[in-house]
Amino acid sequence: MSNATLTRPTVVTGPSKTAKPGSRLPPGEKSLVASPGTWFVWAGIAAFFIFLFGIVLSVLVDSLGRPWFNTWLPENFTTAWYQQAWTRFNLTHIMGVTLLVAFSVIIISVVIGVPASYVLARSSFPGKNIVTLLFLLPILIPPITYGIPLATVMYNFGLGRTILAVILVNLVPSVPFVIITMTPFIEQINPAIENAARMCGANTRRVFTKILAPLLIPGILAASILVLVRTVGMFDLTFLVSGPNSDTLVVAIYRAMTAAGGGESRQLISAMGVLYTALMLLILIIALRFINPTQLVAQVKEARED
C-alpha cells in the first residue's frame, strides 16, 4: 500500500467579485460585477431610484416640517399640516367621493364586463371581431381624445360637475379593462365543467352559482383591484367633468397646486399628497392580502397527465 501523501487541497474560490472585465470565469458563470455594460445598467437603475425615493421622501418630509426653504431638513417637525389640510380642503368629503366613485365604477364595470367576457370567451358569432374592437378602442385611444367630446356631452345633459358624471366617464376605460382581463381568464376554465354540472342535474342558475361564480371570483377580485387603482389615480377624465363637490383626491391636489395666486401652501399640498399615497398603499396592501395577482394568469390548474 503506497504511502499516500497528504496533499493540501487547493482552495477553490468562487468567481471573484472584483474580477476585471475580460477575466476568465468558469464557463456558464456570470459575474455580477464586471463589464461596463453592467455598470451602466446599475447606474441607470440607481439614478431612477434616487429620483424616486427623492421625490417620495421630499414630499413626506415637506408635509411634516415647519416652513422649510433654505436648509437640508426643516427645523421642526409637526403633524399640524395634516389636520390643517384635512379641514381646509374638506378631505372627509373628498375621500368619501373618491371611494364612492371608485367602488361604483368597480361594481358597474364588473356587472357589465364579466357577462360580456363570458360571451367573448365561450362563443363565436358573426361580428365578434367588431365587438372586440369596440371594447378595445377606449384603451387604445388616449383619455383626452375621447374625454373632451364625452365631457361636452355630459355638460349638455346637465351632468357637469356631478358625481354621476365622474362615475360615468371613469367607466369608459374601466369596462374594457375588465373585459380584456376577464376574457382570457374565463377561456382558461375548462368549458366541459359546465356540461359536467348539467349532466349532474344542475340547471343554468345553479351552474352559475355553484360552479362558475366561485371560479370567477378570484379573477374578478384581481381585476377590481386594478380598476380601483386606476380610478383613484385617474386625473384626465375626472378633471374634465368634476367640480368642487365631486372632485376626487387627485383632482383636489391639482386644484390646490394650480389655485390662483401661486397655489396653496406647499406643505398643505404635500400633506394631501402623502394622504393620497397612503390611500393607495392601503388599497394595495389590503388587496394583496386577499388576492394573488398572478391569479389572473394560469388560474385553473390543468389536469395532469401521468
Binding site: I45, V131, I141, P142, G273
Partner: protein, 310 residues
C-alpha cells in the same frame, strides 16, 4: 313500402330555426353582451361621433377669423401658430421620452433577466411609480428638483455646479415626470417580451460560435424588435397625452404648451367646445399617424412565434 316507412318515421327535431341560429352562434346567451355593447355605444361611440360632428360646427367667431366655412375649426388648427405649434411641442416631448424609455429598458431588462436575490423586490420597486400617479410625482419633483431641493443642494455642495439648475417649471421637469412614470411601464412590457424569447435560441447561437454582440444583433434583437415597436407605440401614446404634468412641472404657456392643455383651454376657459373637440380629435389623428408609421416599419420585421413562454 320501404320508402313510405322511411318518411313517416322521420320526425324533425322541434328546434329547427333556433337550432340553425345557434349553429351560427346566435342564441339567448348573446343577451349577456348587450349591457356592455350599450355602454360602449352610449358612452364612447356616441360622444365621439358627437364631438366629431361638433368640429364641423365652428363658432361664428372662429369662422369670421379663419374662414373655411364648416372646416373653420380645422383651418384654425393648422393656421393658428399658437395652436399648431403645440403639435410640435408635444412631439418634442413625447418622441424623445418614448425612445428613451424603450431604449433604456432594453439593457436593464437584459441584465435583470436572470434570477438573483431580491429580484422580486427590485421589480416591485421599479413598478411602484405606477401607483404614485402624475400629480404626486409632479409635487415631488417640484420639491426635490427645485432650486432649494435636495438634488440641487447635493450638486452644489459637491462642487459639480455653482448655480442651482432649473430642472422644474420647464421642459426638463415634464421630461423627468414622463420618464419616471413611463419607464416602469416600458420596462414591464419589454421584460415580458424578452422572457418570451426561447433562451435555447441564444444557447444554440452560442454553440454555433456567436459572441455576445453577434447573438444580440442577429438573434435576440430581431426577435425582440416587434415587441419594442409595440412598447414604443404604447409609451408614446402615454407621453403624447401628457396633461397635468405639463402644467404642474412645466411651463404651460411656453415650452410645454402641449396639445392636451390647448384642448382643455378651449374647453374650460374659452368654452369653445367645437374647437376643443377639434384639438382632441387632431391629437388622436397625429398619434394614429405615428402609430401607422411605426406599424409599417414593424411589418417588415419577423412577427412569428419566438418560442418562449412570454
Amino acid at each position: 313500402m320501404t320508402v313510405a316507412t322511411v318518411t313517416s318515421s322521420r320526425a324533425k327535431s322541434s328546434a329547427s330555426l333556433s337550432h340553425r341560429l345557434a349553429e351560427r352562434g346566435i342564441s339567448t346567451r348573446l343577451l349577456l353582451l348587450v349591457p356592455a355593447v350599450v355602454f360602449a355605444l352610449g358612452l364612447f361611440v356616441y360622444p365621439f361621433l358627437y364631438g366629431l360632428g361638433l368640429t364641423f360646427q365652428p363658432l361664428p367667431a372662429t369662422q369670421a377669423q379663419w374662414g373655411g366655412g364648416l372646416f373653420a375649426n380645422y383651418v384654425a388648427f393648422f393656421k393658428d401658430a399658437f395652436t399648431f405649434d403645440s403639435v410640435w411641442i408635444t412631439m418634442r416631448l413625447a418622441l424623445p421620452v418614448a425612445l428613451f424609455n424603450v431604449l433604456i429598458s432594453v439593457p436593464i431588462a437584459f441584465k435583470l433577466r436572470n434570477r438573483f436575490r431580491g429580484k422580486r423586490t427590485l421589480q416591485a420597486l421599479l413598478v411602484l411609480p405606477i401607483t404614485l400617479g402624475t400629480v404626486l410625482t409632479a409635487q415631488g419633483l417640484l420639491i426635490f428638483a427645485g432650486r432649494q431641493g435636495w438634488l440641487n443642494r447635493f450638486l452644489i455642495e459637491t462642487g459639480i455646479i455653482d448655480q442651482p439648475l432649473q430642472l422644474v417649471n420647464n421642459y426638463l421637469g415634464v421630461m423627468f415626470s414622463l420618464i419616471i412614470s413611463g419607464f416602469p411601464f416600458a420596462y414591464l412590457l419589454i421584460s415580458s417580451y424578452l422572457s418570451g424569447i426561447d433562451p435555447s435560441l441564444e444557447a444554440a447561437a452560442r454553440t454555433l460560435g456567436a459572441n455576445w454582440k453577434q447573438r444580440f444583433l442577429r438573434v435576440t434583437l430581431p426577435l425582440l424588435a416587434p415587441g419594442l415597436a409595440t412598447t414604443f407605440i404604447l409609451t408614446f401614446v402615454l407621453a403624447f397625452s401628457v396633461f397635468p404634468s405639463a402644467r404642474l412641472v412645466g411651463d404651460a404657456s411656453g415650452e410645454t404648451r402641449v396639445l392636451a392643455l390647448m384642448a382643455y383651454r378651449s374647453f374650460a376657459e374659452q368654452l369653445d367646445y367645437a374647437m376643443a373637440s377639434t384639438i382632441a380629435i387632431m391629437m388622436g389623428v397625429v398619434e394614429l399617424i405615428v402609430i401607422a408609421v411605426v406599424f409599417l416599419g414593424r411589418s417588415f420585421l419577423y412577427k412569428g412565434s419566438t418560442g418562449g413562454k412570454g
